[in-house]
Symmetry: C2
Subunit: 524 residues, 2 copies
């Protein structure tokens, strides 16, 4: 593979001309809470209109739609002959040729018309309850009948579309197709969140999670020797720290670096998720050290494996935690290869920090305003809280001027942070004042802000549930626009200590306990 060829490929991927291929889109990003069902909706980027066919070339939309619907019906209702291959292929192709509206119409129809057969369920419930009552004499025989009815009832509660999903799963390209179909579903759900569609989605998600169990996934180290068709996907899907050029890619696969992907046999040549690792002497504090600094150290001097990027590639697999097993397996592998590596840490973004902070400042400064308005020194609103310490309040008020006005510290901070172009991040005057404040608030956000007993930050939640601890937060660790915008430039090191992984994961799951270093605690 010459560099020129790779470059052509990389350019080619921008075109997305083939309507039957799901576009390589801007979706991927560090795993964002893919494990909690309640959050999987947060990160849906509506990019599924990519790859939508131009149905006009097939004649009227209506006719194409009818044909695809008919194929869907055959694919679902034909008897289990195992010879549906052509029908399933036709359905896949037909689906890709549909416009997004038609896909939406089709999926709505699938959700409603191919749902549970409730008449059958009622009938079997009747039988079931009948048998439960009469279970007395002739116990073994009636018990045999009972088990059969129970199984039938269980099966009858499965929606009809399960058949379609299962058939597609065993069909070449079907698993990938289902992941695209789910990406469409998620995109449709952002506009039309009906119970039947939601049910279809959560059912498909459950199925996909089962089919993509770690037992079926293979770990592969991605190197510069891999095909360009695979490498271009790494470039396309890496969105935590975008790959800027060929040299950058080559470096990330070269000495002192590792890249591992999880592959599924039926989605060949494309990792479902991949992780980038830097072998270092110490745990890096800034992403610059990892990506742009001097040549890497000799590998035999490394004592730390730093996970600096995890990217999932399939928007349709949102909410299915593939990363957890990936990290565990990579740790085992690196440990075996390089016994001298004893620290496994991450350098992670804190994607929800600024959003949380700005909304907290906005609501609290309003409360503060209201309280002043009522001239009351009496108990403040139940929702109001002290965001800033007295010293911070003073320091911020001293910064108040025309460009960042404010009647209290929170307002000043809010105005500074939400000013366009994030000027604060390059201001020699502001940074020294903001650093201790933002670092303290960031520690609070990571260790204390929770949602349903779990860390509010999605990446924190991901690593904590995998058994990591919060080790350290690093000021101005990611000065990229995205880094400043999302997390005030702060990055965090989570550390995986082999001897504690299981315990930490268990106590996090059980009681929501977040393990953190004394250093972080002292910032609170």
């Amino acid at each position: 593979m010459s560099k020129k060829n790779l470059a052509i490929l990389l350019r080619a991927r921008m075109r997305s001309s083939n309507p039957t291929k799901f576009s390589l889109s801007q979706f991927p990003k560090e795993i964002q809470s893919n494990t909690q069902e309640n959050r999987s909706g947060d990160h849906i980027v509506d990019n599924s209109n990519e790859g939508i066919g131009n149905s006009s070339k097939f004649g009227t939309t209506g006719r194409v739609y009818d044909v695809v619907r008919e194929t869907m019906h055959s694919a679902t209702s034909a008897s289990k002959t195992g010879v549906l291959d052509i029908t399933l292929s036709d359905f896949q192709e037909g689906y890709f040729s549909l416009s997004l509206e038609d896909r939406e119409k089709l999926l709505l129809e699938l959700a409603k018309e191919y749902d549970v057969n409730r008449e059958q369920v009622r009938e079997l419930i009747k039988q079931y309850l009948g048998l439960e009552k009469s279970a007395s004499d002739d116990k073994e025989v009636s018990s045999s009948v009972f088990y059969r009815v129970e199984r039938n009832l269980r099966h009858s509660l499965r929606p009809t579309y399960e058949v379609l999903f299962e058939r597609l799963n065993t069909h070449p390209g079907g698993l990938r197709f289902l992941s695209i179909l789910r990406a469409d579903l998620l995109s449709i759900l952002t506009k039309e969140n009906t119970p039947s569609l939601r049910t279809l989605d959560s059912f498909l998600k459950e199925k996909l999670g089962m089919w993509l169990s770690p037992a079926t996934l293979e770990l592969h180290q991605i190197t510069w020797d891999d095909p360009a068709s695979l490498l271009e996907k790494i470039v396309a899907y890496e969105a935590v720290h975008p790959i800027s050029n060929l040299l950058d890619l080559k470096r990330r696969l070269g000495i002192g670096r590792r890249c591992f992907g999880y592959f599924h046999p039926s989605i060949p040549g494309e990792p479902l998720i991949f992780i980038e690792v830097a072998l270092m002497e110490t745990v890096a504090q800034t992403i610059q050290e990892v990506l742009w600094d001097n040549p890497p150290i000799p590998e035999n001097q490394a004592t730390c494996a730093l996970f600096y990027s995890i990217s999932s590639t399939q928007p349709g697999l949102a909410g299915i935690n593939l990363g957890k097993f990936l990290i565990k397996r990579v740790i085992t592998l690196v440990k075996k290869d390089m016994p001298h590596v004893s620290t496994f840490a991450t350098l992670s973004p804190i994607p929800g920090f600024m959003q949380w902070l700005l909304s907290k400042l906005s609501s609290q400064s309003r409360f503060a305003e209201d309280e002043r308005g009522t001239q009351s020194n009496s108990p403040s609103s139940t929702f109001s809280e002290k965001v800033l310490l007295p010293g911070e309040e003073q320091a911020l008020m001293s910064l108040s001027d025309d460009s960042s006005p404010g009647s209290n510290g929170m307002e000043v901070l809010l105005n500074l942070l939400s000013a366009k172009d994030c000027d604060w991040a390059t201001s020699a005057r502001l940074l020294p004042v903001l650093e201790p404040i933002l670092m303290r608030l960031c520690a609070r956000y990571l260790l204390q802000e929770k949602k349903r007993g779990k860390a509010l930050d999605s990446v924190a939640n991901f690593h904590l549930q995998n058994g990591a601890m919060v080790e350290r937060i690093n000021w101005m660790a990611d000065r990229s626009e995205k880094g400043i915008h999302q997390s005030g430039g702060i990055m965090v090191n989570y550390v995986y200590r082999l001897e504690n992984i299981e315990d930490y994961a268990q106590s996090y799951f059980g009681s929501g306990k977040i393990h953190a270093s004394p250093g972080i605690h002292s910032r609170l």
Copy 2:
């Protein structure tokens, strides 16, 4: 790998000293109707007491049992922390250390105590029926609740042991463990066929079938360059035409031969099923041509790919059809590699022929006896039928002598065929008389004898449902003791014609139609 090393390995496998490893057993045989649930029990060889641990070394059986039961309980009932690794490993190891009686006791307990939570089911049925009635106004909201209750009801109908199975499936070595556990279950079921155990088994079978969907399996060509640890498994599991020595194995992997296996990522180094292929000029009529004859023809002269052996390796996967997809993929692969190969055929045993024939002869000669006893020329019993043609009757009676007495042709044939040592098969006097009779009856058995609308012969059923046709039967094609004993030395060629596979499979599924060549039909 030197031959000496391989020989040592091959000997080592006979010892089966490691109680945690399932022994390489004598179970495998050509896929025998693994696709029809009602037959899966036919071929269970009770070999699962291999690999049973000697529990005495752990102290009293009772104490070990209690520990393993306790681990099973923890593994099943612990919350979904994902950190059960140690518990699951302990359970696997503990299970292996149990005696067969203790395994049986444990599995019975699993079947009964970890079954469906019926109290919860009743409660949810009540809610479900209540919602169905009140589904009137506020439609979308109630529908959302309804979907939730329906899902809960569906989930509640799952037995508790599903959790254990699913956790084991995602655990290293778990899938293999589950297949061994199911082998034990099948062996226990032959003695103690209770509804709860049967239910446990069919549930596990369903799960295994899902986890081993073709989407998760990988096709790998097995060659002489593969590790000895893999090759020894081929030797161990090949039971259609046992591999007699190293030269035999090397020949089966060498020029003019192919061997393909289906592998699952979580059972590495061991095919779940493998198929042996011979590249030939014409469709072989005897297994001798394939296994022992002159050097193979140059591969570029081959026009036929002959599937001469399919062996499944995991007794615990009985009833799960892995072979079908294997054959399809191998045909595609060979076709692509060698476009000059245009015929895809098998040379298959007819494992049920003699058993069917002997039982038919035995019952019918009894009927004939009864009829003669009543001196009646009137309508014969509804169950009696003409097994032999008049000419055959005469020919057989002419053979009747002291060594094979009989008052009618059927009795003579029965006595000849059931004489010990199968002397008939080497008798120059008997063979010419028996050939046309056995060949006609064999054609009848293959094309006309059915069970629930499908071919009675399990191998025939396997190939017919995959879309093959019955091409030709071959006299004295397998003179091995097993060949004579099972199928009177006859073998059959099934042919896969690419252009007909789907049609044939569909019509066989739909109406039980068996496609066969004119040559076979003319024998009837």
